[in-house]
């Protein structure tokens, strides 16, 4: 007999992995529609300037060109968008439209859109555009941007300060006065970007005969874009369908509004034919959102025993010429200052945030929004305190991490923690890495001139946001998700759900959850995602909400359908539904487990012979359920990571020897996929710690905008990643899952920076900037 009712907690392989490996993926990039035209953009080569001449006549006459659009001919079709939210008081940003009309504001800013029969012809025509820009002094550096007299980075703002805020407990200053020790540091975190395997891709297909706009869009948030396209192009929402098929990676990069996607929609509306835009790698670097770009000054007050009393933090984050839409570019900095010191029983805190405009491509939400910065700063200071007090890094954390029985707890920055497992995670990690042996080896190897380091970093991760993230600020971003589950006439199960799949296995875990509610195997559950016409409305996949919110939605929808099936079965069998259950693809007797009627038979009767049902029976075999978190405003997960590195002090090259993670994501639905998420996340955290950086010159030119010069982490550089779990389910939901997508990214860089500094410590050197390139390490060592 096939086991049932226990698929939650089992390792099932990703349903779509085989299809992808077999080359059967269906990405927007693969799609070709009849009469489709291809878009290419002429972009600003200057960081800031005025367009003094724009002549597209030669381009318009070029071979294969269908249409050429400029700001004058395209922008009037779209209501401009402004990336501000009401709950960020005093926040400002200029309004944006598709093509630059007078001013160009970053290198890569789209100025002209050319549509042709092929991308190659469109690109050739781009070379024929005469664009003359009178360059102006660009705002390149965030600190300089705030100096009085510096030009403004964009129109429609009254200063280069997008947003500033201070978060402060009343006793902060007193805590520093009382303290026995203060440690401090200045940190710089470079810009990096997503580098998804499939770049941004869209095919907008407007049919003038029906008034229907279909948008095939490689996005993680189809409903958000349905709303954006309807509102900004004056269409009825019901006539806008967004289809997000297979997506080659998103990582937060594919939920922002981009000029090119809006222009593709606008052009399709005007031409009445499909318009395709697929970014090439080079334009991705100067038009996809970038991430991070922070300078942080921080200090930490401690008592004589190494107890953390307070942190005082100042974060300056540089976001480009505009705040991104509709989620803003402020959320990152906001989370940086709120996550500082989060794992610790730290009573007092002050966090200052300055979000600053500059003439570069926008930065915005990217995997583990704000987390890596808060974690790296906090953990670097804890390590400095340990060094000062001559305490072991584990011991100082043992003294300060929140006790496992201290919940519920409200952090100094106002976060409410339901229940976390820091102390248990710390001890588990200590044991897992064989700490004493590693230290002994480190000491022995130093005598041979080999410098190894061990770094640890506990973390807290925000997941499952309710409306507090965006809804209260006025953004039309769904705080809930929806699922529709039906039993087919043949007794199979179909689930249409609003959370989306980007390769992390969303569809697989939803099938597991649904299977358990209906007594079938996950293989019998087909899951549909990523289509606004065929799935109910919801927030989709970001902020780790797929499992925690999407999973709970699926569970509740499954239970609703279960009740409907049992009621119907009771009527057919003349039995009390209370005495029936679902198992092994059938309705069974609850106590004996004996099969009474198969699901296929229920489906057959309800569909083809409803006449045989008792009069008044409800033959519905479809259940719809929406779910929004209603308990804590967010869930929090926790964990701890350790990094083991070897630094070659002659070359500055760091070798990553091993990485460990102890993670508590609440209920684990699929251990295999949870570990995959953590490993991928760790790599995405180590990338910017050692390799990834968008480099700009002092004129605002990005100078490494290709994969020749921009370094992404490759398998060869990555260490083995060992993972262990603690499970503390949330009691806010039946499922108890909290989410895991960003945990790896949250603390990997922090652990790595502590490890590198542990290796450098005997040499009196220290690094506080990422990526930790060989040159920066050699500089820290005083060799250059």
């Amino acid at each position: 007999m096939i086991p049932s009712k226990n698929h939650i907690g089992q390792s099932h392989r990703r349903k779509n992995a085989f299809r992808h490996l077999a080359g059967r993926g269906r990405f927007v990039t693969d799609l070709a529609l009849p009469r489709m035209v291809h878009a290419a953009f002429v972009r600003s080569p200057m960081a800031k300037g005025n367009i003094v001449e724009l002549d597209v006549s030669e381009a318009a006459a070029a071979s294969g060109v269908v249409r050429v659009f400029t700001a004058e001919t395209l922008n009037h079709t779209c209501v401009p968008w402004t990336g501000t939210l009401d709950h960020f008081a005093g926040m400002q940003s200029g309004a944006q439209n598709m093509l630059a009309s007078n001013e160009v504001l970053w290198v890569g800013h789209p100025v002209v859109m050319i549509l042709a029969h092929s991308r190659a012809e469109a690109e050739d025509a781009c070379e024929l555009v005469m664009l003359d820009i009178e360059d102006e002094d660009a705002v390149v550096d965030g600190d300089a941007a705030l100096v009085k007299g510096t030009p403004l980075a964009a129109e429609g703002i009254n200063s280069n300060m997008c947003f500033q805020t201070v978060l402060e407990t009343p006793d902060l200053d007193d805590a520093f006065t009382r303290s026995a020790h203060v440690v401090e540091g200045k940190f710089t975190f470079g810009r990096h970007t997503a580098v998804t395997l499939e770049p941004r891709a869209i095919i907008a297909d407007f049919d003038p005969s029906t008034g229907q706009l279909d948008v095939h869009h490689g996005t993680q948030t189809p409903y958000q874009f349905q709303d954006v396209y309807a509102r900004h192009f004056g269409l009825s929402e019901g006539r806008v369908r967004v289809i997000a098929p297979d997506i080659g990676g998103s990582f937060g990069m594919k939920l922002h509004v981009y000029h090119e996607e809006m222009a593709a929609v606008a052009a399709s509306l005007m031409l009445g034919r499909p318009v395709r835009f697929v970014a090439d790698r080079l334009e991705s670097f100067v038009s996809d959102i970038h991430a991070r770009d922070h300078r942080v000054t921080a200090r930490m007050a401690l008592d004589a025993e190494g107890g953390i009393l307070a942190m005082d933090v100042d974060d300056m984050t540089q976001i480009g010429a505009f705040s991104s839409y509709p989620r803003t570019s402020v959320a990152e900095g906001n989370q940086v200052i709120r996550l500082m010191g989060a794992p610790y029983q730290m009573p007092d805190y002050r966090g200052r945030l300055s979000v600053v405009f500059q003439n570069k491509v926008q930065t915005s939400q990217y995997r583990a929004v704000g987390h890596p910065i808060a974690c790296a700063v906090t953990e670097a200071l804890v390590d400095r305190a340990a060094e000062l007090l001559d305490l072991d890094p584990f011991e100082i954390r043992r003294r300060n991490l929140l006790a496992d029985d201290a919940y519920p707890h409200i952090s100094a920055t106002g976060y409410q923690f339901e229940k976390l497992s820091h102390q248990a995670s710390l001890e588990k990690l200590h044991q897992m890495i064989g700490y004493e042996a590693l230290r002994a080896e480190q000491i022995a190897l130093r005598k041979q001139g080999i410098y190894r380091g061990i770094g640890i970093a506990p973390f807290v991760e925000i997941t499952n946001p309710g409306a507090a993230f965006y809804g209260i600020g006025g953004a039309r971003i769904s705080a809930q998700d929806g699922a529709v589950i039906r039993l087919t006439p043949a007794g199979d199960v179909h689930c249409a759900i609003s959370v989306t799949e980007q390769g992390q296995g969303t569809e697989t875990i939803i099938a597991q959850i649904v299977a358990d509610q209906l007594g079938v195997t996950p293989d019998q559950v087909k899951v549909t995602t990523g289509d606004t016409d065929n799935t109910p409305s919801g927030g989709a996949t970001w902020a780790c909400r797929g499992a925690g919110i999407g999973g709970e939605t699926a569970l509740r929808a499954g239970r609703k359908l279960q009740a409907q099936i049992l009621t119907l079965a009771g009527e057919i069998l003349q039995a009390d539904p209370m005495h029936l259950a679902l198992a092994s693809g059938a309705v069974v007797d609850k106590t004996t487990g004996q099969e009474r009627i198969t699901l296929a038979e229920i489906g057959r009767i309800a569909t083809y012979r409803p006449d045989t049902l008792p009069k008044g029976s409800d033959n519905s075999l479809t259940a719809a359920q929406h779910f929004a978190p209603s308990g804590y405003p967010f869930d929090f997960t926790n964990g701890i990571q350790a990094s083991h590195v070897e630094v070659d002090i002659e070359t500055g090259v760091t070798r990553l020897l091993k990485h460990w993670v102890v993670e508590d994501c609440g209920r684990i639905i699929n251990p295999l996929l949870v570990d995959e998420q953590i490993r991928g996340g760790v790599v995405q955290g180590l990338g910017p710690a050692f390799f990834e950086e968008c480099l700009y010159d002092d004129m605002g030119q990005m100078t490494n905008a290709s994969l020749v010069d921009y370094l992404v982490p490759m398998a060869g550089e990555m260490p083995d990643i060992e993972i262990a779990h603690i499970e503390t389910p949330t009691l806010d939901t039946i499922l108890g899952a909290k989410g895991v997508g960003e945990a790896g990214t949250a603390a990997a860089g922090a652990a790595a920076m502590n490890a590198v500094n542990d290796a450098l410590r005997p040499l009196g050197a220290r690094i506080s900037q990422t990526p930790m390139t060989p040159l920066r390490i050699l500089t820290a060592l005083g060799h250059v």
């Binding site: 080569p45 200057m46 290198v107 690109e123 555009v129 664009l131 100078t703 905008a705």
Partner: protein, 153 residues
């Protein structure tokens, strides 16, 4: 980005000076020059086709000569737009010093590039600039020699 260089030319400073202001010589000397139009005694408009690393483009640009000290030194300023490839602009101080039968031409140039040229070609700009400069002076020397043989009236 700063570029420095020096060339020994087999001509007198006056011959070199005259050639520097000669449209035909310049047209033959500028690598990839498709057209060169003299717009005044001291300014030219050029269309040049160039390939820098993976970026190839036609640049339309203006060249202006200023700070003129006849037979001794002048400043060449240029600004070129290469469509989607980006732009290049710069200024070079050129000085001529007689040395025996030769004239030593020294130049100090400050060059900035933008757009795809900066994004992709940054590592290649110096080597490309060196190559283009060498090519320019090779052509220039050839043109100078030809001028001597068939003086322009």
């Amino acid at each position: 980005m700063e570029l420095l260089g020096s060339q020994n030319l087999a001509a007198t400073p006056d011959q070199v000076w005259a050639a520097l202001f000669d449209r035909d010589v310049l047209e033959q000397s500028i690598p990839g020059c498709e057209s060169l139009e003299q717009t005044s005694d001291t300014s030219f408009v050029a269309v040049v086709k160039l390939k820098i690393g993976p970026v190839s483009a036609r640049f339309k640009g203006e060249i202006e000569l200023s700070d003129i000290d006849p037979g001794k030194s002048c400043t060449l300023s240029g600004k070129g737009s290469g469509g989607i490839a980006g732009f290049a602009k710069g200024a070079a101080l050129v000085t001529l010093t007689p040395e025996g039968d030769y004239t030593v031409l020294d130049y100090t140039a400050d060059v900035a590039v933008g757009g795809k040229l900066a994004a992709l070609g940054n590592r290649l700009i110096k080597s490309t600039a060196k190559k283009l400069t060498d090519e320019f002076f090779a052509n220039f020397t050839k043109a100078l020699t030809a001028e001597e043989e068939e003086p322009v009236t």
